[in-house]
Symmetry: C2
Subunit: 335 residues, 2 copies
């Protein structure tokens, strides 16, 4: 996809809780540098720290180039109440990038306003460009892929934390986004679960192309090899990313696979072994370099520490909570 | 997709060798009962045994309902020289079903003729209908999936042979097509490699829904878990099909994975073990019931027999060439 134009104006609409605005909040958290401010309706109760609320006109004056629709309404669609604001942003010359499940083009007023101003409408959950079939050819440069025991266990967060830490250490690194929130944060990427299934590994290949020998792509994982709905996506991404290094992500309080009460989470050891075994097809040198645990739902800090110590001993790999301990110990293991 | 209307008229265009007409020939082979005849251009040198050549008008008079475009031209597109025939078929009221890589709707004359006659244009390599996400829920009835060491090793042929043999034995069975040739033969199905990747396993689930306890769905496999381009499709299909039984298909003279000279074929034992291990996620009772070898490229019959005996001993499963020995020994193993 075309790269999003920066800086961004984050749109919060009328959402009443942070969970519904988590994509916008993610962008504010990871790309604070490229956010001009937030725009919202009067009844929106969500606040984003350190970002001013402003009108579309004010944002345009301050140089905003793209309105980010990083929110979820109950229907998964674009709420009618948001449309006047979206139209106004387009009138002010901003592009609009949406992480929602419906295309911006479904709304005639939006199409009309975009045509008039010449602004772009970008639907990051859809992918319409032609893709190649994966080749499995060895590429130059190095790649790390985050894999998970389940969906939504911290693969994106861990990938972003790794990228940030590696940049801080002066390493040559890029984050490669594969889901809508990651794409809005990175400003580019491919939503691998939205491509035609013949091209999953091809999408991962062009997302992390040949690069300098010391360069790392940190590829955001999707789904899980053990999720009955999405394992095909996970395997295509695993093969196409051709990872040199894997980081396994896990959320220890999860009772069952996300949205699938019949399915238990896999054991960490088995999950990692299966990922390594299957990854060897396209990169026989692949190795696991760390475990990232999201401990935010655990009862207390002591329990979290004890759990991570046990996992670290059991798997013989640095085990951290990226949100608490950072990921420097995993990065050290890349050398 | 909507079921194709029978009977069919097979179109051969101007192709000069049977390989380019293999989809049409496959339909003639497996669905002789529903083929009225063939239509072709004067310079076409391919013959289909026991089927008369006729004009579109004659086919319509004899009751043909669908023109099948089961051929490949060098560009993968629809040749300009075929278009007058396609338009004439539409004028005669026939639907047109295409297994080609371009949509019939890409040609204005075809669109116009279809609009005029009210006939349907069906592109079996594309899938535009909404699909559910896979659930992994246990379904009633039984399922067999053919899996392969590689692409194009006989999974469709084996699936059709199994269905035919089981029907002959009076068993309650349906063939479930997942690729364009299979779909044209069956008259329905879902091209799983053409669906959005989030829905691969969901597609396989609706393709082989709940059924009577003694009913078998024979699901046509796609790709291979060991093919770097397509393994994601194969895994999504494996999980969604939820097979009780697997038949492993192989072509022993293949030097490397199809179109991928860098990739060797997997060992049969490893390939089967990996399929079984991963299939257990959605059906812990899955078992392998047979091996289907396409020996047509082997040097001689003795070599083929010796090879199959070795495999049979090594894997402890009935090993047959469906085109030579039939598949009754595998069907016996289903009981």
């Amino acid at each position: 996809m075309e790269k999003l134009k920066e800086p961004y104006l984050l749109y919060l609409g009328d959402v009443s809780e942070t969970l519904s605005a988590k994509t916008s909040i993610g962008v504010a958290q990871w790309r604070r540098d490229c956010c001009i401010g937030v725009a919202k309706l009067p009844d929106c109760r969500v606040k984003v720290e350190n970002l001013d609320v402003m009108s579309m006109a004010e944002a345009a004056t301050r140089g905003a180039k793209t309105l980010i629709l990083g929110l979820a309404n109950p229907g998964g669609s674009i709420a009618a109440s948001w449309i006047p604001d979206i139209v106004e942003a387009l009138n002010q010359g901003l592009d609009v990038a949406s992480g929602l499940h419906v295309r911006l083009e479904s709304f005639p007023q939006i199409v009309e306003a975009a045509a008039k101003s010449g602004a772009r409408l970008i639907n990051v959950r859809f992918y319409d460009e032609a893709l190649p079939v994966g080749t499995g050819k060895q590429r130059s440069g190095k790649r790390l892929l985050t894999v998970g025991t389940d969906c939504s266990v911290g693969k994106m967060y861990t990938s972003l934390a790794l990228t940030q830490e590696m940049k801080k250490q002066g390493l040559n690194v890029d984050f490669r986004a594969t889901g809508q929130t990651g794409i809005l944060i990175a400003g580019s990427g491919i939503p691998v679960d939205a491509v035609i299934s013949d091209f999953i590994s091809g999408a991962a290949e062009i997302l992390s192309p040949d690069n300098e020998d010391d360069h790392w792509d940190i590829v955001e994982g999707q789904g899980s090899l053990f999720h009955p709905s999405y394992a095909g996506v996970s395997l295509g991404l695993l093969h196409g990313a051709q990872p040199d290094a894997l980081v396994l992500c896990h959320e220890p309080t999860r009772k069952h696979m996300r949205h699938r009460p019949d399915y238990k989470l896999p054991e960490l050891e088995k999950c990692l072994a299966t990922n390594i075994e299957l990854a060897k097809l396209t990169n026989p040198q692949v190795k696991a370099v760390g475990i990232a645990i999201n401990t935010s739902q655990m009862e207390n800090r002591e329990q979290a520490i004890a759990y991570m110590e046990t996992v670290e001993k059991q798997l013989g790999l640095p085990c951290v909570d990226p949100g608490v301990n950072g990921v420097a110990r995993i990065v050290r293991n890349l050398a």
